[in-house]
């Protein structure tokens, strides 16, 4: 939807060390997190990042554990980039962009060992809670990855485990304790535009992005990374990106996750 002219305009401004909307290079757009948006979900969060809107929901069901971790719950992260959210998205099975988005968010949550999965065992080797985190994009206005990552952990923090009915099915009328969340991974992506590193591009800026490096951090450590796009990062740029992400992660964690 963005034209070549828009793109060139963005690049020219950024080359001059400014951004079209006047933000600093490491400044996010306005971020709003609304937990508990969906009553039928065990946990949910509506995330608004500038004009980008993502609703993340957590649903829990009872199923079998994997054979190699009989005493642990199962986590699944899924993303739908449905046609409601952008003229560029289409109906149909998840395309590579959606798969990558879901898997990057998944790794952030999984590798940070954010959720205590042992607590989700109901009966060793037989029954555990399956935790499905669904990322539902409502308006794609740039930087879906960070909004989705933040939405996922916000929805997980919001989630309460259902009770269990006599017939062995989940009882969502009687949700009880919260998920045991021990780490708060924050996803922060460094985008390169004409050689500069900027955070949280909006739609127009995103059209001018050459490459990106997503870094998911927990306190002081990195738990997942993903490079995307066609431009390269020198090793030094990678290290600088990590510093920025750790700093930004701490900032967001403090401001939104107390």
């Amino acid at each position: 939807m963005m034209t070549e002219i828009d793109k060139e305009y963005v690049r020219t401004i950024i080359k001059g060390d400014k951004r079209p909307d006047g933000r600093g290079f490491e400044e996010f757009r306005n971020l709003k997190i609304e937990q508990g948006y969906v009553k039928n979900a065990e946990g949910s969060a509506m995330v608004t990042l500038g004009k980008t809107k993502i609703l993340v929901g957590v649903k829990m069901s009872i199923g079998e554990p994997y054979p190699d971790s009989p005493d642990k719950g199962v986590l699944m992260v899924n993303a739908e980039l449905g046609p409601v959210a952008s003229p560029d998205f289409e109906s149909g099975p998840p395309r590579p962009q959606a798969v990558e988005l879901a898997r990057v968010v998944d790794r952030g949550v999984r590798e940070s060992k954010s959720i205590n999965m042992e607590k989700l065992c109901i009966e060793k080797g037989e029954k555990v809670w399956l935790v499905a985190v669904d990322i539902h994009i409502l308006n794609d206005y740039g930087n879906l990855i960070d909004a989705a990552g933040i939405g996922a952990i916000a929805a997980i923090l919001d989630a309460k485990i259902p009770g269990i009915k006599e017939d062995g099915t989940p009882d969502i009328e009687n949700r009880k304790e919260k998920l045991d969340v021990t780490q708060i991974p924050i996803t922060c992506t460094i985008y390169k535009i004409t050689g500069k590193m900027v955070l949280d591009p909006d739609l127009k800026e995103e059209s001018a992005v050459d490459g990106r490096l997503t870094v998911t951090t927990i306190d002081g450590s990195i738990c997942a990374m993903q490079k995307g796009g066609v431009c390269g990062f020198t090793p030094e740029e990678v290290y600088k990106a990590i510093d920025i992400s750790i700093k930004k992660g701490n900032e967001i964690r403090k401001k939104y996750f107390k």
Partner: protein, 241 residues
């Protein structure tokens, strides 16, 4: 099923009267990427809708030289119901998409946009009965917001039969225990029904009563939709200044 009655002295489980709707909320312009968008909430049922178009249509063999092609997708978010829904279309959503598409096609002046497509996407974010009605109400706002010329707004609402009594806007436990569900889509200016589905055993008088109730409900919704659009235009005016 419980022995105890759900409806006592004409008062329903959530305290409503027989012909009382849940409270509702309507907004236009909620999805910036879309050419038009709408939000509708009826009690705990929430839908957003986006309209893209009129736009070029692919694949080419679908192009109609005399009128616009309408695409419509009704979709429930996986977490919108008590049991998670697998992403992707299923038989239920395929059918609902079709009946919604038929209803909306009825009011759009399709011949004004030959060779193009008008695409309508409805997302149910939270479901507590009447999702197709709430989705239709949101889509109707979205179409108007996109500036697509229509005969009138389509409004939609359901009646039902619970313990042998006809009631308006079934919800919550009524939806699980009820005998009949009767969603309609109605266009006040034409006094015509564009969507009507019914399942459950009912006689003609009951059905008549249900349709009359639902039409009454549709008229209330119609005002809400218009208000949402008015607010949107007002806001747009302000934005322009």
């Amino acid at each position: 099923m419980s022995e105890e009655k759900l409806i006592k002295n004409d008062i329903r489980p959530d305290g409503r009267k027989l012909d009382e709707m849940r409270e509702m909320e309507a907004r236009a312009g909620v999805i910036d990427r879309a050419d038009g968008s709408g939000y509708f909430r009826l009690g705990n049922t929430i839908a957003v809708a986006a309209v893209y178009g009129p736009k070029e249509l692919h694949p080419k063999h679908l192009v109609d030289p005399v009128k616009a092609y309408v695409k419509c997708r009704y979709n429930m978010a996986p977490f919108s119901t008590s049991d998670r829904i697998r992403p992707g279309p299923n038989r239920r959503s395929t059918e609902i998409s079709k009946v919604i598409k038929d209803a909306l096609s009825s009011v759009i002046f399709l011949k004004e946009y030959p060779e193009t497509s008008i695409e309508i996407f409805i997302e149910i974010l939270q479901a507590d009965a009447s999702t197709r009605c709430v989705g239709l109400n949101a889509a109707s706002i979205a179409l108007a917001d996109a500036g697509i010329p229509m005969k009138d707004l389509v409004t939609s609402c359901a009646a039902g039969k619970v313990e042998g009594t006809m009631i308006l806007d079934v919800a919550g436990i009524e939806d699980c225990e009820g005998e009949v569900d009767l969603p309609i889509a109605y266009v006040p200016r034409k006094n015509e029904i564009y969507l009507l589905q019914m399942d459950g055993i009912i006689n003609k008088d009951e059905l008549k009563k249900g349709i009359e109730m639902a039409i009454k409900g549709c008229k209330v919704i119609y005002e809400k939709q218009k208000e949402a659009l008015k607010n949107r235009y007002a806001k747009k005016g302000v934005d322009k200044k």
